[in-house]
């Protein structure tokens, strides 16, 4: 197939695919080393897999670009999807941090109550 205007260049597809595979491998390795919980890895894995599919499936990317009215440079859709997933991950992390902060408050309060109960006022 001849690459015309409005096609995804092969080099972009390959670079996108490599980056996605690398992301997936790094995430899996982090889980294996117990440095990342599955709960927080799933969104990253979904990001990697979606980007991998969109990178390799160039005609699909072109079709989606057509739907969205992106003319001239279909890989822009790739960047848009990547940005969307990063936003999702960040939003998810914000909720996680909020939960951790709440739990931290409860822990500090319980510790203070326990110290008072056991007469340990040194702290």
């Amino acid at each position: 197939m001849i690459l015309g205007a409005g096609q995804t260049p092969l080099s972009v597809a390959i670079a996108g695919a490599c980056a996605s595979v690398l992301l997936v491998l790094v995430v899996l390795e982090l889980i294996r080393k117990r440095r990342l919980r599955e709960r927080y890895a799933l969104l990253w894995l979904a990001t990697g897999i979606v980007l991998l599919v969109l990178s390799l499936w160039r005609s699909g990317l072109n079709t989606i670009a057509g739907w969205l009215g992106v003319k001239g440079y279909p890989p822009a859709v790739l960047f848009a999807v990547a940005t969307l997933f990063i936003l999702l991950v960040l939003l998810d992390y914000s909720t996680v941090i909020s939960k951790l902060a709440d739990q931290n408050t409860i822990l500090a309060q319980r510790l203070a109550l326990l110290e008072e109960k056991f007469g340990d006022k040194q702290g």
Binding site: R32, E38, A41, L42
Partner: protein
């Protein structure tokens, strides 16, 4: 084919069992309605066993109901999820120097009168972990159709990955010896943990035996896993067990 199920008379506890320091670990989340009955049943199965209820941040009075029946209560300040709650129990058992732990869910699914039967392979030294399976004798309550299907996929996967015959990888009705208590006190997976714990134990070289038991439908409360979340859990558990296979074998603390 349904195998014949023989349940030991609760009054007669194996003398080898009676000689051990043993603890019953009961994780419970919003089980105020059923926890009292579970404690009474454990006590009638084994009057001497220490009963520890881990209240996983319940909003209802699970802790109060358990304490009123004379159980020791570990009240978590917020909900850790089933894995964190169960591990709290194993930490207690490990630090308390217990030889044997019986794990019973707080919702009434597990009938503690099976204790003697369940403990038999551990007492005989054939296994470090004995798991009560619903799917060997195929009697009693065996969960909904969709959940049975999910459990079948998981048991097939775990059997392929770990070897041995695993029919009920999600069963929390377990008896563990000191070695398994030590492992689980140090490492225990997070949510929906039994499946991954099965792989973990196999990697650590612990021997697992399944014992046919009958389970019951939960007597009160709701399952921690709703219909919508099951797919999410399924994906997560599959990911967890596949990655677990590539982990280094965990060291079992002395």
């Amino acid at each position: 084919m349904a195998a014949e199920l023989v349940r030991e008379a609760p009054a007669r506890l194996d003398s080898r069992l009676a000689a051990l320091r043993r603890v019953a670990l009961v994780p419970a989340y919003n089980e105020a309605g059923s926890i009292g009955g579970v404690i009474d049943e454990i006590r009638s199965a084994d009057p001497e066993i220490e009963i520890v209820v881990v209240d996983d941040g319940s909003q209802d009075d699970t802790a109060g109901a358990a304490a009123a029946r004379g159980a020791r209560v570990l009240k978590l300040p917020f909900n850790l999820g089933i894995g964190g709650a169960v591990q709290t129990g194993y930490r207690y058992a490990y630090e308390g120097g217990f030889d044997l732990a019986l794990r019973v869910d707080g919702d009434g699914q597990h009938d503690p009168s099976w204790f003697g039967v369940l403990a038999a392979p551990v007492l005989a030294g054939h296994a470090d972990i004995a798991v009560g399976s619903r799917f060997i004798a195929r009697k009693g309550y065996r969960s909904s159709r969709s959940r049975r299907f999910a459990i079948r996929i998981l048991s097939w996967t775990v059997t392929v990955l770990c070897g041995g015959r695993v029919t009920d990888p999600t069963s929390g009705f377990q008896v563990t010896n000191r070695r398994a208590i030590a492992l689980f006190a140090a490492y225990y997976p997070h949510d929906y943990p039994e499946v991954e714990a099965t792989v973990l134990a196999a990697k650590a070289g612990l021997r697992r035996a399944e014992v046919p038991v009958e389970m019951r439908e939960r007597s009160a409360g709701r399952s921690s896993i709703g219909a919508v979340r099951s797919v999410y859990y399924m994906v997560k558990v599959m990911l967890a067990i596949f990655v677990a296979v590539f982990r280094r074998a965990p060291e079992v603390p002395a």
